[in-house]
Structure formats: C-alpha cells, structure tokens
C-alpha cells in the first residue's frame, strides 16, 4: 500500500540518518592518536587533536618514563611508565597543553586541542 511504502521509506531514511549522526559522533568523541617514547624522545614535537580525543603514550624505550603536564588546559600525570607500557590521556578542554617527561627534561611535546 502507498501508505506502507511511505512509512517504510521514512523509517529507512531515519535509520540512515541515525547511522550517519552516530558515526560522526563516534569519530568526534573517540579519536585516538599514538605518541611513542623511543630513544628518550617523543615521536612528535607538536600535535593537534579535537576536544574529546585521546593520545596513547607508548613507552617503546628500555627505560622508564613519566609523562605529565601542568598546563591550565589539561593537568595530568601518567606516573612512572615502565618499558613496554602505555598510558592514555583524553583531552577535555580547548587550549595548548605542554607535555613533558619528569625523568627526561629534554622530552617535550606541544598538544593543540581544538573544538
């Protein structure tokens, strides 16, 4: 029946819209980048992420690291990371976050967090 066809088309359109919105939301909220710690250096010196994105700090070195930030936009401290371990940080505020290692002062990373 024509009415059933219309309802079916409407339901299909609604389902497609939900999938698109959901995928978009997941992409926005769940973005994750990896930063490696190797040879007592970060694999990047500057990164840009969206609010809600995460960075996974992977210790690929044979020594311990301790990633932290005292920036107003995001204060965090992963505490001691033994070799082979990872720590994930989610950036919840817009701004610039200066990231360092408490054990190796030469290790520096600037994270720009955008809306």
């Amino acid at each position: 029946m024509p009415t059933n066809h219309k309802l079916g088309a409407l339901a299909a359109a609604l389902a497609i819209a939900l999938v698109i919105v959901g995928a978009s939301w997941l992409a926005r909220a769940g973005g994750k980048q990896a930063v490696h710690q190797k040879d007592k250096a970060f694999s990047a010196t500057e990164l840009t992420v969206k609010v809600g994105d995460s960075i996974e700090f992977k210790n690929d070195d044979d020594v311990a690291h301790n990633v932290f930030s005292t920036s107003e936009a995001q204060k965090f401290n992963t505490k001691i990371q033994p070799p082979g371990s990872s720590a994930e940080v989610t950036f919840v505020n817009e701004g610039t976050v200066q990231v360092r290692c408490a054990i190796h002062p030469q290790m520096k990373l600037t994270v720009h967090v955008e809306k």
Binding site: K40, N66, F68, T70, R100, C101, A102, I103, P105
Partner: protein, 145 residues
Amino acid sequence: MIFGAVVAAGLSMAEARERTLTLTISLKTTGHSIVFDQTELDAPFGTRLRLTYKNAAPAGSMINHDVAILRPGSDEKILATLQEHDYQLDSIKDSKDVIGLTKTLKPGESDSIEFLPPTRGDYVYICLMPGHGDVMGMRGTLRIK
C-alpha cells in the same frame, strides 16, 4: 635529625646558637623514585645550616635532581613562575624567595647549600626539575623553631 645532632655534639641549643654551629642536614634520593628520603626536618632558629643532597639514582637512569630552599609561603609563587618559563632556573634563581639552590645533579653527584634561616617558619625544600616538586611531590618541610 638536627636536634639529635646538637645533642650528639654535647651542646645545648643556646650554646649551639652562641657558637653559630653549622648543622648538617643530609638528604638523598634513591632508585628511580622522585621523592626525598626525608620530608620533615627540624632545626633551631639562629643556627647556620648546611644542607647536603646526594642524587643516588642509578647511573644509567638519567634522572637529574636539584634542591632549592624557599622562603616560607613562597613555594606556589616560585613554582608558577618556573612553569611560566618552561622550568628555566634562570627565571627564579635570583629571587629573594630562593634561599639557596644546589647545582643540577646527575646520578651519583652531591652538592651542599649553606644558609642562615632569616626567620622562624616552615621552609619548603624542593626539587625544581620539571615535574619533580610540582607534580611528583619531591619536596619537604624544614621547620625552623
């Protein structure tokens, strides 16, 4: 402890002050820890102090440390200045709030600070390496009574 050192030297506190005895405080950090081995110290007012610090971290750890003695109540201001200047010690080392500051010490190295506390009060001693005193809690209190 300092009072113990005075007693061990066979002096009363008054005698110690009269003789301007220099008392030695020994601090160290061991292993990969980023804390001092002592977080509370006491000393009598009017006595010259020598604070000796040894960085006993493992040789290959690359964990450097230093120790600063800060005027009572000034620690937050000093740390804020340091953070604003990317932890450059030049930004605070000439401040009147910094009573003394050791060299930056590699594992195995030692240094001393000599000072006469100008007032009674709680002096913070703290490592000013990035993240050590402000994030990891590498600090303690020297009570001058």
